[in-house]
């Protein structure tokens, strides 16, 4: 064996890969991808067609994943921050989406629930929804940060009441926006064949990455999540950081709400974004982040969100009854929890080591 080869071998250490956080979502993604490739390669077919408005659109399972995984990815951003800072999760995001969506429709519809034209620009409706969703986030955040209530318990309040609030905002009526320009946010921008939600998600991701790069949000939230007492002595205000994370999640909720109501140009208060909180939490977990708070990897969370949609789409493709979906997700959760235990990590590390060892002995 030549010296050069030895050098290369030394650099590639599978054990290190196993310890990397982003390994988990990537492995899950690869597993799903390979499964689909073997089961039915047509899964990866993407076709360019034209929709009923005559605009070009790409369609295929991969596009569907990018499309429908977007709300989840956006929520995963906020949920990751909340998890990191508070060591708990917000279970009211589904209900909060109903509220944000309802606000958007209420502003767009004005007094008439079936207007022929939108009564206000979408951006105004969206900004108002942002404010409302951030206020509800602030409510959750205040309970968690200043009154020291367990996040799950604190957000249970909005989880219970949120959908009723959403219905109340529109007087329990069913608003429908007939203007096709509103459908753009959940559909396609005329002339661009990639679904708009994906663009919105990417904008959110880029903004988040910029914020993480150009502010200390990441350092502060992780620091507070890991050791609150020490953070306080370093001049941080842990309560405010937690509060802030919930407000930022509120902002993510408003964006997700816009996409959700735009998809159907309407809203159903009791089922819109149903159970999405569980998927968002799962995305954070799938990203290898500790649900107990502290260190986080945003990229892994976002990837985790798309992996969940990949799973959902795969199950739909194979005609798995959609009410059985939660059972499959439960399996994923079990596998994840087991994989993230130190025992399993150690075991995988050993396998990697022995693989390396056998390679060496062969050489």
């Amino acid at each position: 064996m030549s010296q050069a080869r030895k050098q290369v071998k030394k650099k590639f250490n599978p054990a290190v890969l196993f310890r990397k956080q982003i390994f988990i979502p990537i492995a899950a993604l690869l597993l799903l991808a390979i499964f689909n490739l073997i089961a039915d390669p047509s899964f990866y077919k993407i076709t360019l067609g034209y929709n009923s408005a005559g605009d070009p659109v790409l369609s295929g399972y991969l596009m569907t994943i990018l499309d429908y995984g977007s709300e989840l990815a956006i929520l995963a951003i906020g949920m990751t921050l909340v998890t990191a800072a508070s060591g708990g999760q917000d279970i009211s995001v589904g209900a909060a989406i109903a509220i944000a969506g309802s606000v958007i429709l209420r502003v767009l519809c004005g007094t008439d629930s079936r207007p022929d034209h939108m009564q206000a620009p979408v951006i105004v409706a969206f900004l108002i929804a942002c404010v409302v969703a951030m206020l509800f986030g602030a409510f959750n955040g205040a309970l968690v940060a200043y009154f020291k209530i367990q996040p799950m318990v604190a957000t249970l309040i909005l989880f219970t009441a949120g959908r009723s609030i959403a219905a109340w905002i529109n007087n329990n009526e069913l608003p429908i926006i007939s203007d096709p320009s509103f459908a753009v946010y959940g559909g396609f921008i005329p002339g661009i064949p990639i679904p708009t939600p994906f663009f919105i998600a990417m904008v959110c991701v880029i903004i988040t990455m910029l914020i993480l790069k150009f502010t200390n949000l990441g350092l502060y939230t992780q620091s507070v999540g890991i050791n609150e007492s020490s953070s306080k002595l370093n001049g941080l205000d842990p309560a405010f950081i937690k509060f802030l994370s919930f407000v930022l999640l509120g902002l993510c909720v408003a964006v997700a709400g816009l996409i959700k109501v735009s998809r159907l140009s309407s809203i159903n208060y009791s089922v819109i974004a149903k159970d999405i909180e569980m998927d968002a939490i799962l995305a954070v977990a799938l990203g290898g982040n500790s649900l107990g708070g502290g260190k986080f990897n945003m990229t892994a969370s976002i990837l985790g969100a798309y992996v969940i949609q990949f799973l959902t789409t795969t199950l739909y493709k194979f005609n798995v009854q959609s009410d059985a979906l939660p059972a499959y997700k439960a399996v994923v959760v079990i596998v994840l929890v087991v994989l993230s235990t130190p025992k399993a990590r150690e075991f995988m590390g050993k396998i990697a080591k022995s693989l390396k060892g056998s390679e060496r002995s062969v050489a």
């Binding site: 350092l219 992780q222 002595l233 001049g235």
Partner: protein, 505 residues
């Protein structure tokens, strides 16, 4: 196995990725002896203990226990307990919300049924026989730390143990409590229990131990009878070199000479916080090193926490360089050039999962502001500078700080505060639970900083450390300041008598 041995470990090897933690270490424990296991942080003491208690599995080597024909296999702490090895850790690992008796008996002999009355009676009997001042039905959290530590020992001892491991049991106890603990240890020794005692306090080693095993860099240096190994030699063995007499360090640095009499760097009048201390006055001059002394719980930490705004300040005025300022939160103190290294390194100091680099820049970054993060390059520059300056032993600047040894963690926090370039540095127990070499380093550093004009308040449980570094001592008793000692008054006896209440014996 030798006749009188209760435990023999032979040629123990253990390595972690990149580290050879133990390399062929031998260790022998005799029946009825107290055996000190000494070494600097990172020497392999903890690893050896963890191998013995089944927390880690050894790579190679044999462990023999009295009463077992062959080498025993210990795969878990339960295994260790079964063959008679009990451990009491530095951090108390009991359940504070359960009663004393429950803590002593929980998780023992598998039965679901529990005779509560009998359990409490049994517990009381044990507590009484060991002279532990606690009641079986008392909630553990309501006991003092020392008593909790003793309950932990009582629990361990009652499990019919042959080998009792005490890992830094005295680090949170005051002198009186330590004496009680030693009494307990001597009793157990008489009963034939072999005790492994891990500590950083040299005095304590020479007070109770019979023999010493010294480790360095994962290797056995030697095993000695206590009478054959004077202190200086022990320290030399641990460090692997002959060191200067520690009493010399003070004179080696020239005290800072104020050009003219100026106003104090920091002044407090009738300062009081919600942590239960009486209002106190305090001041520190430029380049001065002073300290708070007193028994554990006398309020010395609470005083400095009040200065830093770590507890809620209820009243009093503070001045910085003669100008009145307000300190309500730590950030106010930081902005006024005050830095505070807290007493409890793990709880208040390190941010465990973050890297050494992030831990070092944290305080300065917070002062700089949310929207102005340092670039990665700046962060590495800062981190590397202080890793070098304080010779912090770490694999890299990106290593999680929790994987460093205690002394190096302390240096990281010290680096964090030095980086903020304070004019007033408060060090609360900076030398607790760290190895001798680092202790000396820190004391030297304090004097060096003072000679450069920094004001330092230094708190330590070890009065000789304070005598070596401080030029003025504020003495506390029962949460109030009871005296101030300087110059000639700075003697061990004078401190003792002031703490005790002025009537020196």
């Amino acid at each position: 196995m030798q006749e009188k041995s209760v435990l023999e470990m032979r040629k123990i090897y253990k390595s972690f990725p990149g580290v050879k933690a133990l390399q062929g270490v031998d260790f022998t424990l005799r029946e009825g002896e107290i055996h000190a296991l000494m070494g600097e942080n990172g020497a392999g003491k903890s690893t050896l203990i963890k191998v013995l208690t089944g927390v880690y599995s050894k790579d190679e080597g044999d462990i023999h226990i009295k009463g077992h024909e062959n080498a025993v296999a210990i795969h878990s702490p339960q295994d260790a307990q079964k063959i008679g090895i009990s451990t009491v850790y530095q951090e108390i690992t009991l359940c504070p919300n359960l009663s004393v008796a429950e803590n002593m008996f929980i998780g023992r002999d598998g039965g679901i049924m529990q005779n509560w009355k009998k359990m409490n009676a049994d517990a009381d009997k044990i507590l009484e026989s060991l002279g532990i001042p606690a009641k079986s039905t008392q909630q553990l959290a309501s006991c003092s730390l020392a008593v909790q530590q003793m309950v932990a020992i009582a629990r361990a001892v009652d499990m019919e143990c042959k080998v009792l491991i005490l890992d830094e049991p005295t680090s949170s106890l005051d002198e009186h409590e330590v004496q009680k603990l030693f009494g307990l240890m001597r009793d157990l020794k008489k009963k034939g229990v072999g005790i492994i005692f891990v500590t950083h306090f040299l005095d304590q080693v020479y007070e109770v131990c019979d023999r010493i095993t010294v480790l360095r860099d994962g290797q056995l240096v030697g095993e000695y009878e206590i009478k054959d190994l004077p202190r200086v030699k022990l320290v030399a063995k641990m460090l692997g070199k002959e060191m200067d007499d520690m009493s010399d360090i003070k004179s080696s640095e020239k005290p800072y000479e104020a050009k003219e009499k100026t106003q104090p760097v920091f002044e407090a009048e009738q300062l009081v916080s919600d942590a239960g201390i009486k209002p106190f006055d305090f001041h520190i001059e430029k380049g001065e090193v002073n300290g708070f002394t007193g028994l554990l719980g006398s309020g010395r930490s609470e005083c400095v926490r009040a200065i830093f705004g770590a507890d809620r300040v209820l009243g009093g005025t503070v001045k910085k360089n003669g100008k009145q300022i307000k300190i309500n939160k730590p950030i106010d103190a930081m902005r006024n050039g005050i830095a505070y290294l807290p007493e409890d390194r793990k709880v208040d100091g390190i941010v465990g999962d973050l890297s050494v680099r992030e831990n070092i820049i944290l305080a300065l970054q917070v002062m700089k502001g949310f929207f102005k993060p340092f670039t990665k390059a700046e962060q590495y520059a800062f981190a590397d500078e202080y890793i070098k300056a304080l010779s912090i032993k770490t694999a890299s600047a990106d290593t999680p700080v929790k994987s460093l040894s205690g002394g190096n963690q302390q240096k990281v926090i010290l680096a964090r505060w030095l980086l903020t370039h304070p004019d007033y540095l408060i060090l609360d127990e900076p030398t607790r639970g760290i190895d001798v070499g680092t202790k000396v380093d820190i004391q030297k550093l304090v004097l060096k900083l003072a000679s450069e004009g920094m004001s330092v308040t230094f708190i330590s449980s070890e009065t000789d450390e304070m005598l070596r570094t401080c030029s003025r001592l504020i003495v506390m008793r029962d949460r109030r300041v009871v005296g101030e000692l300087k110059e000639d008054e700075l003697t061990q006896n004078k401190i003792m008598s002031t703490i005790a209440g002025g009537e020196s014996k």
